[in-house]
Amino acid sequence: MTATADRKVRSNREAGARAGGPVDSIDAAGLGRARAAGLVAPALVLVLAFLVVPAAWTVYLGVTDYRLTGIQAANPEFVGLDNFTAALADPDFRNSLWLTLLFVLGSAIVGQTVAGFALAWTLRTVPKLVRSVVETLVLLAWILPSSIVAFLWVAYLSGDGGTLNAMLQTSGTEWLLEHPMASIIVFNTWRGTAFSMLLFSAALGAVPPSQLESARLAGAGAFAQLRDVVLPHIRGHVLTNTLLISLWTFNDFSPYLLTAGGPNHASETLPVFIYNKALYGGQLGYGSAISFIMLLINLVIALFYVRLLRERR
């Protein structure tokens, strides 16, 4: 095979891979539908059994009055959309939805994105060794188990002997009780910034330095450089990052470890709300209905993301 033909084969395959288009032609060696399905089946079965079936069950539970204990635990009754109408009328649920929105906006879309980009932007020009040390240190916050980082923050923010109070000379301030939402937003920003930082680092590496240089020579300030040179290059990365961190933050259960949703529902984001209602309060049916609502919101964001991946390929 000549080099040109060689390249042609490869580019054909890559074209197919990107477009996700006609793939039958690639299956030249004849794996066949049955064998291909056989290779995928074990993974599919496991995912079906432990992720999809439970999710479907959640949908079913959501239209019953199932409870953890009592008569409805043995004989749950079909209640139609009662749980959903109850949710819409439940001030606690609406409060929780609002807090979740605040949490996602404050800690993911603003906090993590801004801090992550700032770090990536600054680290671009520092020596390689310094950069990798900093990245590793920031990564620690993100990679440690949530129960560990939660404990660190509880100790840090504690009113009685908390380190933050000692540093700020604000002895006795119970941060988690007096400012619960602000606390979990700062906590989640701290925790999640590493992902945005690493992602933007990779993105900024793809911006041609020559373009930045010529923009600077043309007298563009830092802001203009960011807007006119950097942003067009990293638009896709910004979108990917925003979708992923929004989803993770939306589903994050860690606030439970800091405030358990309290005091008096003041920091009860949706996953915490479900836990408190379904397992603490025993209302499995109602909790499942809320889970279903969460599932729908996730699905919408996931559809966007799948679309994004398709376009990228």
Binding site: V23, V134, I143, I148, G159
Partner: protein, 274 residues
């Protein structure tokens, strides 16, 4: 803009970055230091940086049965990693190198299950396992973790397999290697770094998982995260012992994360970002 204001501004930006990094690192550093303090010093109101290190906290953590929880965590993390990697390799292979049209649709299915909130599946899992008496079983937890990590491992490996030059595989086919031999002898060695990264990520997720472990285990199969979580309280009387326990529990993920650092973003964006 002249050069002196620019360098002054550069110095300011650098300073701000270092302060930011210090803020990020401080809680972890604090945990590490507190683990080596005697309890009275760790929970004292005045933070101290210079002290005589003791291992009292570590001994107390072990006295509380830490070793058993660590062992459960290790069993769950390793078993689930093996499950998800072993199942992901053939799936990713069929979805990248030997692609067949209809099977290809399962890709979107895999990716959408990645976005399943744990809160939405945990209640039925809890009820099913309760009914059949499989609560508090470490291998059941491991299988659930395996399923939880599969979407990520499949997608991640697929993104690596797509980069394997087609000619190499074609050459193997001309040699007459069967499918199994082709996977094990030719494809796998080429994507070994990808397999390793996927395994590390899946290990980290399973090791760190708290929500499912909290509900699906109680005593015999309890893993480290809920064990640590149960001691979290604001009063701080267990600060030294908890710090010591947390430091031990953090070590495996710190090592795994450090090794997999370069591949983390790729894995978590499911190949969207290289």
């Amino acid at each position: 803009m002249n050069s002196s204001t620019r360098s002054a501004r550069g110095a300011l930006v650098t300073l701000v970055t270092w302060i930011l990094v210090l803020i990020f690192f401080f809680p972890v550093l604090w945990m590490f230091l507190n683990g080596f303090k005697p309890e009275s010093l760790a929970s004292s109101i005045n933070p101290s940086f210079i002290f005589k290190p003791v291992t009292e906290g570590y001994q107390l953590a072990m006295d509380r049965g830490m070793a058993g929880y660590l062992q459960n965590s290790l069993t769950a993390a390793v078993t689930s990693t093996i499950i998800s990697v072993l199942l992901a390799i053939p799936a990713a292979y069929a979805l990248s190198i030997r692609r067949v049209k209809n099977v290809q649709n399962s890709l979107s299915f895999f990716i959408s299950t990645r976005f399943m909130p744990l809160a939405a599946i945990v209640l039925p899992l809890f009820m099913i396992f309760k009914t059949v008496g499989l609560l508090d079983n470490i291998y059941v937890l491991a299988i659930v973790y395996g399923a939880m990590n599969l979407p990520v491992t499949v997608w991640m490996m697929r993104s690596f397999l797509l980069e394997v030059p087609f000619e190499i595989i074609e050459a193997a086919r001309v040699d007459g290697a069967g499918m199994f031999r082709e996977i094990v002898r030719i494809v796998l060695p080429l994507v070994l770094p990808g397999v390793a990264a996927a395994a590390l990520i899946s290990f980290i997720f399973a090791w760190n998982e708290y929500f499912l472990a909290l509900l699906l285990t109680s005593s015999a199969a309890r893993t480290t995260p809920p064990f640590l979580g149960s001691f979290v309280d604001g009063r701080g009387q267990f600060l030294a012992v908890l710090s010591a326990a947390a430091t031990i529990a953090a070590l495996p993920v710190i090592i795994a994360g450090w090794v997999a650092q370069k591949q983390l973003v790729r894995g978590l964006s499911m190949g969207a970002i290289k």
